[in-house]
Symmetry: C2
């Protein structure tokens, strides 16, 4: 049994923390929204601050939305870092980009605390079943310490590097492809409509051939059938993630022309009020309807 | 048994015509390169011109490279059209775009000849095994007349519309996605390298998740392992096809920003001398090496 301080119990964090409770671990949870902690149920203990969640923990799990939030819950007012004992491990599973993670790792190292970087892919559905893909990096000993937790949350948790930030880098490659593939599905299906085709019939013909992608299948289905009110993954997530993809590209003097165009489409969607909507609604931008 | 005049016996046309011979059909073949006809083997008959290939045929199969060539073999010097009897069917399987096919169909209709539009996807490998995907459109009776031929060449030949050109339109949607997905794979894997990751290890981690595409698997493999001298599909094919995609987009006043950027990348690759090379070499453009 590991004692886990858990910070960030949103749509992804809650089902992930629930997997740890089911696995017999002790979870002390904190979220800016106290209702989110209560929603975790009987097994969890509630903390009133990041510091309280961190007190006495073996592992501090961080599943907030942004790099600024990750920094704040560790080093801000009533932050977790001062409570962490030497040898404790901070497990960052949010997608915040390599630069933030590297900076946090350096600061935690000063107090003898290790960082494991393990951003996830798979959405709420796989978070709930404990079948996420986690892209793990960090010092060998620290990775070993969190391995039982990763096992409970993921179906695959490959170690992609020894340096904190390597996991974030692999996640950004993943998000570059995902973000471009969603936009390509939207562009391709709206193109079919513009040519006068029945987009759904066209989609059925091509989706299992050389044009196939996970996103053409998954988001394409909601694009041609309509997403209705359901939000499986908000468009705002790709506004954030394409920003991280391009920031890291810029920092490494790498031109990423497709990702750059895809970012403009997500930003256009957000400007049109689609940020909280399912990201399959990006097709409205390509249709010229938003 | 159908008597087939076959025009265009290149890398794709030859194995496709061979499927018809194996299926017991009579094939009279013509190609600008007489050696290509000879290579078809004993069962085939050689014609010295498109007109000779067309004489007495039930179906004239056209598998040339461009729309200009399709027009020329039908209506140019010693062209096939004057030899076609009323009720004959011209079967265009080359990817030439909807505009050319619609124009040819209108001209053939004046002499009572039908056109079936059936561009293919699957490459030489599937052409050889008779497992192509064919996107078929045309008048019902004409489609029925060519059905035994389509059966011999394809594993799937969905009828996507009644108007000649509808098949080409679906193929262009397919090519938009394929062309963007190849470029996205190149951009994503070169991005991984730019971030200091091992691109092959990164590819292995992400290729079966949400980032998955047929092209990330197929071309991605040759991008990270190297294509060597093999040319499974020449980069020049996407120079041509992205041009057709964007011509049809323009004609329908549809902005296709991702396809547009992808076209620029293929054109850059061609400028760098990569036109005849395997299209997985597009990653060299993103690496900044070409």
């Amino acid at each position: 049994m590991t004692q886990v301080g858990w910070i960030g119990l949103g749509a992804m964090g809650r089902p992930m923390a629930a997997r740890l409770l089911d696995g017999g671990h002790r979870v002390v949870g904190y979220d800016v929204d106290p209702a989110a902690v209560a929603a975790l149920g009987d097994g969890a203990e509630a903390a009133a601050s990041p510091a309280e969640a961190a007190a006495g923990c073996d592992v501090l799990a961080v599943m907030v939305a942004t790099g600024a939030q990750a920094d704040d819950v560790l080093f801000g007012n009533r932050g977790a870092a001062p409570e962490l004992r030497p040898g404790a491990v901070v497990l960052i599973m949010a997608t915040v980009g390599p630069a933030v993670v590297q900076a946090i790792a350096a600061r935690l190292a000063e107090q003898g605390v290790h960082l494991v970087d393990a951003p996830v892919s798979g959405g709420v559905a796989r978070a709930t079943t404990g079948e996420l893909l986690m892209m793990v990096s960090g010092p060998e000993e620290a990775v070993a310490a969190v391995a039982p937790l990763l096992d409970a949350m993921s179906s695959r948790a490959p170690v992609v590097g020894a340096a904190p930030g390597d996991g974030q880098k692999v996640k950004l490659v993943n998000q570059l492809l995902c973000g471009v593939h969603i936009a390509a599905a939207a562009e391709g299906l709206a193109y079919a409509e513009a040519l006068g085709l029945d987009a759904e019939a066209c989609w059925e013909v091509i989706r299992h051939g050389a044009a196939a992608s996970f996103m053409l299948d998954d988001r394409g289905s909601r694009m041609v059938h309509g997403a209705g009110e359901q939000v499986k993954s908000a468009l705002d997530i790709f506004v954030k993630d394409m920003g991280l993809v391009l920031a890291a590209a810029r920092e490494n003097v790498y031109p990423a022309p497709l990702a750059s165009v895809a970012e403009q489409l997500y930003l256009t969607g957000r400007r049109a009020g689609l940020g909280p909507a399912d990201d399959s609604n990006l097709i409205e931008v390509l249709r010229g309807k938003r």
